[in-house]
């Protein structure tokens, strides 16, 4: 029998904790409930939930700050559930790295649908790149990226400096060559949400990365823009002895 998904509910209102917990359990989830930021931290020390439902108005800490801290340390999906239902609260919540935002009062079935949707979305993404390729060396279009030393070498063997964000982004592209990645996916995969969770951040990082790779921004040949979809690394990539991502995407810029 499959292990049920573990959802952590963080809310200072016992009636909400009770309601959401019951709803989750009735629908095949395992629910843990805590009332504040301290409880959240204590639970995270001993277990890793699959998803967190987070209230914003907690007695000891601001839920938005908690959300931002969570996002900087982990990829656990977060749904904010708050009676602070102003548009600006929603926007800030999402910018702080929440995966979804539902205002109170809420319909239980809507919350359930969102939990399932966020989990589905999280699962459609590959596993943690940090662990997948920690010892890898990538070769692409004459370039070499050595992950353990974080060194990038040009086709003329010149060492090229990469910022942390650029390195993370390049790693994501190298893990998914010839696959269109949305801005959200790039943010998630590169843990970029901890930096600045705005779409434009990714655009700027891609632009900088192109410059590092000597890619013509007007007609890039390595990282191509796919209108209304995101970006794709359109190049054959070798990792260790493996070759993958044959350039068969057929995608233009």
């Amino acid at each position: 029998m499959a292990t049920p998904d573990h959802v952590l509910v963080v809310d200072d209102d016992p009636d909400i904790r009770n309601l959401v917990g019951k709803l989750l359990e009735k629908n095949g989830f395992r629910a843990s409930k805590v009332s504040d930021g301290k409880g959240l931290r204590m639970l995270l020390e001993k277990s890793q939930p699959d998803l967190i439902i987070l209230d914003l108005m907690l007695p000891d800490e601001d839920g938005l700050v908690l959300c931002r801290n969570l996002r900087s340390r982990s990829n656990i999906p977060v749904i904010i559930l708050s009676a602070r239902g102003e548009d600006m609260d929603r926007i800030i919540g999402l910018e702080m790295g929440a995966d979804d935002y539902l205002g109170k009062p809420f319909h239980p079935r809507e919350l359930l649908a969102r939990v399932k949707s966020v989990l589905r979305r999280a699962r459609s993404m590959p596993g943690d790149i940090q662990e997948l390729d920690a010892n890898a060396t990538y070769r692409f279009a004459g370039w070499v990226l050595d992950v353990p030393t974080r060194q990038l070498y040009s086709p003329k063997s010149k060492k090229i400096f990469l910022s942390g964000g650029e390195f993370a982004l390049l790693r994501v592209f190298l893990n998914h060559p010839n696959r269109v990645l949305s801005r959200d996916q790039l943010l998630d995969f590169s843990h970029g949400r901890e930096i600045e969770p705005f779409d434009r951040t990714i655009d700027m990082q891609v632009s900088r990365l192109r410059r590092r790779l000597g890619d013509d921004p007007k007609k890039p040949s390595l990282i191509k823009t796919v209108r209304s979809a995101g970006y794709v690394l359109a190049v054959r990539v070798e990792r260790g002895g493996d070759t993958y991502g044959a350039d068969d995407s057929g995608l233009g810029d």
């Binding site: 909400i16 019951k22 009676a83 009062p105």
Partner: protein, 104 residues
């Protein structure tokens, strides 16, 4: 909301049958103890929190009326409007008195 003499029938998802009585018991405690005590001591912060919680939880359990009353109490507490809070307490008592819950 005003005094209502008719039955207020609310249909609730039977999945929630185990926890709804506890929820209504807590609202009754709000009417009988928490809200009047906070009002008597001029503790508008507590009144605001109680209203805010009612607003947030009521409709989730299926009780739209509790959310509406909670919203009114929260707003009245923000304005330190004693009459508004007194009215909110009366509305909640009336709502609970006339509530008829059907699980289906």
């Amino acid at each position: 909301m005003g005094v209502q003499s008719d039955k207020i029938t609310v249909h609730i998802d039977e999945d929630l049958a185990e926890i709804v009585p506890g929820y209504l018991f807590n609202r009754r405690k709000d009417v009988d103890q928490q809200l009047p005590q906070a009002l008597a001591s001029g503790d508008f912060q507590t009144l605001r929190i109680l209203g805010h919680r009612m607003k947030g939880s009521g409709a989730g359990y299926g009780f739209e009326g509790v959310s509406e009353i909670g919203r009114a109490i929260e707003e009245a507490a923000k304005l330190e409007n004693r009459d508004g809070i007194t009215q909110g307490i009366a509305d909640l008592a009336n709502y609970l008195d006339h509530l008829d819950v059907i699980y289906d």
